[in-house]
């Protein structure tokens, strides 16, 4: 039995995530879509916090909500007039997209319902004591070379980011 606060929090956040996800793809104004996305991302980060991944939740807010969203907004302002609407594709594509998405959603949910492991553990039992991961552990995991330690991917990511910076500058530079 989970705490009522947790359940209420879950419902609120889940509702936000679901509504704004759908709103993001349904709205006709691109800036609104970006804003709704922001709500979805924040909702996701709350899920992370709830699941006990504080660091991840923080990163989610910092990188996504703080970084990427700014990029989006800038890009939108660079390429759109404020009142412009986002046109959908041809209607039949919309119908097909909707059908496929809805069918896919139903199918996936059905699959989840039939998934054998899904009912085993509840949040409470998983969040006991040792569940929270300290920054120290994360730091060790990223800088070690042992099993379950990720120095190489970490370095690879840093190079990727460097390349990304250079690439971004090169691509966007005015010639």
């Amino acid at each position: 039995m989970d705490s009522v606060a947790n359940i209420i929090l879950y419902f609120v956040v889940a509702l936000i995530v679901v509504i704004f996800s759908v709103a993001t793809v349904m709205t006709r104004k691109i800036l609104r879509a970006a804003t709704y996305l922001l709500f979805v991302l924040i909702g996701t980060s709350i899920f992370y916090f709830q699941l006990g991944y504080q660091f991840l939740g923080a990163v989610q807010i910092a990188v996504y909500a703080g970084g990427i969203m700014v990029l989006f907004v800038f890009a939108i302002h660079l390429t759109h007039r404020p009142d412009e609407e986002v046109a959908y594709l041809r209607n039949h594509r919309r119908a097909i997209g909707a059908t496929v998405s809805v069918l896919g959603g139903i199918l996936l949910v059905l699959a989840l319902l039939y998934m054998p492991l899904s009912h085993e553990a509840n949040l409470m039992s998983c969040l006991d004591g040792s569940a929270t991961i300290s920054m120290k552990e994360i730091g060790k995991a990223f800088t070690g070379t042992e099993k379950f330690q990720y120095l190489l991917p970490f370095e690879a990511i840093s190079i990727l980011l460097l390349a990304c910076i250079i690439g971004g500058v090169t691509v966007a530079r005015k010639r």
């Binding site: 594709l89 997209g97 496929v100 896919g104 199918l107």
Partner: protein, 661 residues
């Protein structure tokens, strides 16, 4: 006699052809003319020598126990199809080939000489002499052929030289189309000849090698003729459409002869061939090439006698052609065409004569060689006087610059030499003694009466027509009414230069005396001498008929009078039909152009472009169509990919799930 002379007879004209053909452009006209005439003179001398040796030397090679022999002077392998079908190139000397050597070289030499004057101002003089040499070579090769295939080879070659010479004035479309017509019609006939040769050689070469035919080449004339009976027995079982295969083969071979000799219905090329220079008409289309058909039948005579049906066929074809051509000749305006139809008629005469040379086969094989001898005799005399007539016509055309007799008339005062020689030619062909035509025609008619009275009567009628149309021509040219044009200054016609007159006089002289040659002593079907004697009733009848016909022509045409027009108006349909040669050309035109060219060829070409090619293009189109359709899937739109991917994943998931359940 060594083989050198026979080889030279063939080699000199061939060499002259190559020399004048390749080097002619660099030569002056005079040099080319002199070279050509000298070379032909040399060939003529050698041929005379060879013929003289053959007939008179008494060498046992040539005459054995009073029987003239066939002798292969040389015979070298040219191409071996199989062991039994070997094509040789050789030189066969026998009475008819020796006689033909004399005829060909004489006429050819005369024509060479004549052309020097006649063609003097024509461009391409050297080329002309080259072609004449080529023709002489081919014709000589034809007559001395030792085997049917060699004959076929040279047969084709004379066809080509005829083509080249008819089309000599290549800038005239009419000459070009006439030469084309001549070649294609004769080629069509040669196709049948080839099939005939194929059939004959197949059965002969498949006869057992240890049999009486031995293992000699299936083409060889001597072998075929000497074993005619054996061959008939060998193929006796094989029949095709209720005729024996041998009959079919011989008839098919004869069809080749019909083409070259312009027998009905393959005669249409000969009148058109008059587009060529007149000396060429004299040489090729009067004296030598057109008698190749007659020569072919004579050459194969023993084989033809084995299959009497084929001889009957020859007789019928000849008789119809002779009459047809004679009727048409009465209505032509172009003097060369009159002569052309006269040639057709006379050759048909020879054919009939050969055809009747075989009596009813009452018991066993029995032939009467009279027709054969007479036919060859007429071939000889006809060559001389018809060449004379053509050369005379050439002289007239040279003087008047037209082929049309309406542009002539009253020319006897202006061109005495031409007039007298032409008259001799006309008398000879009409069969008035003592000119040569009388004797040969008399023998032929006698042979025909011997066979059946019908052929005799029919051909006597043709002989009468011959006398009529020749004198009609003669009077219209030299009498009738003088063309007022001649009075004008510069238009006065005159006799030809000496190069042209000498041949005329020579040939006229030959035509006067040739009838007295005891021809039967030299040329008979079996080599044994035959003593010619005039058959008085036949001779008298034919003279009377000829005189009557000449008389009629004199009444109608000697002076300008309305009689011919009356006749013409009395039977307009007949006259018109005869004038249009009974519409044979139109029929051919219709069949070849409308049916073969337009319907068959065009539809095949259409079929090829639209059906065959269309199928291939359709294959390409279908492939293209589908690839364009499939190409849409590879559009490069990421969204479409996502959609497909996601839908695919769903489908897979469903399938997996169903399977798991």
């Amino acid at each position: 006699m060594s083989v050198t002379l026979p080889i030279l007879i063939l080699a000199i004209p061939l060499f002259m052809f190559l020399l004048l053909g390749i080097g002619g452009v660099k030569m002056s006209r005079k040099l080319a003319g002199i070279l050509g005439i000298t070379a032909l003179g040399a060939v003529a001398v050698i041929s005379y020598y060879v013929a003289f040796t053959y007939f008179f030397s008494g060498d046992s090679l040539f005459i054995d126990d009073g029987v003239r022999q066939q002798c292969q002077m040389f015979d070298v392998t040219w191409l071996a199809f199989t062991d039994r079908m070997v094509v040789n190139i050789g030189f066969l000397l026998d009475p008819i080939s020796a006689m033909m050597l004399v005829v060909i070289t004489t006429i050819s030499f005369m024509v060479h000489l004549y052309s020097w004057g006649y063609m003097e101002h024509e461009p391409g003089f050297q080329r002309y002499y080259a072609f004449l040499a080529l023709f002489t070579f081919s014709m000589l090769g034809l007559v001395v052929a030792t085997n049917i295939f060699q004959m076929y080879i040279f047969w084709e070659l004379v066809g080509v030289s005829s083509y080249l010479l008819i089309g000599f004035f290549y800038k005239l479309p009419s000459a070009v189309s006439a030469s084309k017509k001549a070649f294609i019609v004769t080629r069509f006939a040669d196709l049948f000849m080839l099939i005939g040769i194929l059939v004959l050689s197949y059965y002969v070469s498949n006869a057992p090698a240890d049999g009486p035919l031995g293992s000699a080449s299936a083409f060889n004339f001597q072998m075929l003729n000497n074993n005619a009976g054996v061959i008939a027995n060998t193929v006796v079982g094989a029949t095709f459409m209720s005729g024996s295969v041998l009959t079919w083969a011989m008839v098919l071979i004869f069809v080749g002869g019909m083409g070259k000799s312009a027998m009905l219905p393959l005669h249409i090329w000969l009148p058109d061939a008059m587009e060529g220079p007149t000396p060429v008409s004299a040489l090729i289309h009067a004296a030598t090439m057109v008698v190749a058909g007659v020569y072919l039948v004579a050459r194969f005579f023993p084989l033809y006698c084995i299959v009497p049906d084929s001889l009957t066929f020859i007789t019928i074809v000849g008789a119809i052609t002779a009459f047809y051509a004679a009727v048409v000749a009465c209505t032509q305006i172009d003097i060369k065409r009159v002569l052309a139809f006269s040639t057709i008629s006379q050759i048909a005469f020879m054919m009939v004569s050969l055809g009747v040379a075989y009596n009813q086969p009452i018991e066993g094989v029995h032939y009467s060689g009279l027709g054969y001898m007479a036919s060859m005799f007429h071939l000889f005399t006809h060559a001389m006087f018809k060449a004379l007539l053509f050369l005379g016509a050439g002289a007239l055309i040279h003087a008047v610059h037209s082929n049309d007799y309406t542009k002539m008339g009253g020319l006897r005062k202006y061109m005495p030499i031409t007039h007298w020689t032409f008259l001799i030619g006309c008398l000879a062909i009409a069969g008035i003694p003592p000119f040569s035509g009388f004797f040969s025609k008399d023998e032929m008619l006698a042979a025909m009466y011997n066979n059946h009275w019908f052929w005799g009567a029919w051909m006597s009628m043709v002989a009468g027509l011959t006398a009529f149309y020749m004198f009609r021509l003669y009077y219209l040219i030299f009498w009738w009414e003088e063309n007022p044009e001649y009075k004008k200054e510069g238009h006065k016609p005159h006799d030809a230069p000496w190069q042209m007159s000498v041949p005329l006089i020579f040939l006229a002289a030959v035509s006067c005396v040739a009838g007295f040659i005891p021809f039967g002593e030299f040329v008979t079907y079996n080599g044994e001498p035959y003593h010619i004697h005039l058959e008085t009733p036949v001779a008298v009848t034919s003279i009377v008929i000829a005189l009557l016909a000449i008389g009629l022509a004199t009444v109608m045409y000697a002076k300008k009078n309305p009689l011919p027009a009356k006749f013409k108006n009395a039977m307009p349909g007949l006259w018109k039909a005869a004038h249009h040669r009974f519409y044979w050309d139109e029929i051919y035109q219709f069949v070849t152009h409308k049916i073969i060219f337009n319907i068959i060829c065009r539809s095949i070409a259409w079929f090829d472009r639209h059906v065959i090619d269309g199928t291939m293009n359709a294959l390409a189109y279908v492939t293209n169509f589908f690839s364009v359709k499939i190409k849409g899937m590879q559009s490069g739109y990421v969204q479409a990919y996502v959609l497909w991917y996601f839908a695919g994943a769903l489908v897979l998931a469903v399938i997996t799930w169903i399977c798991l359940i």
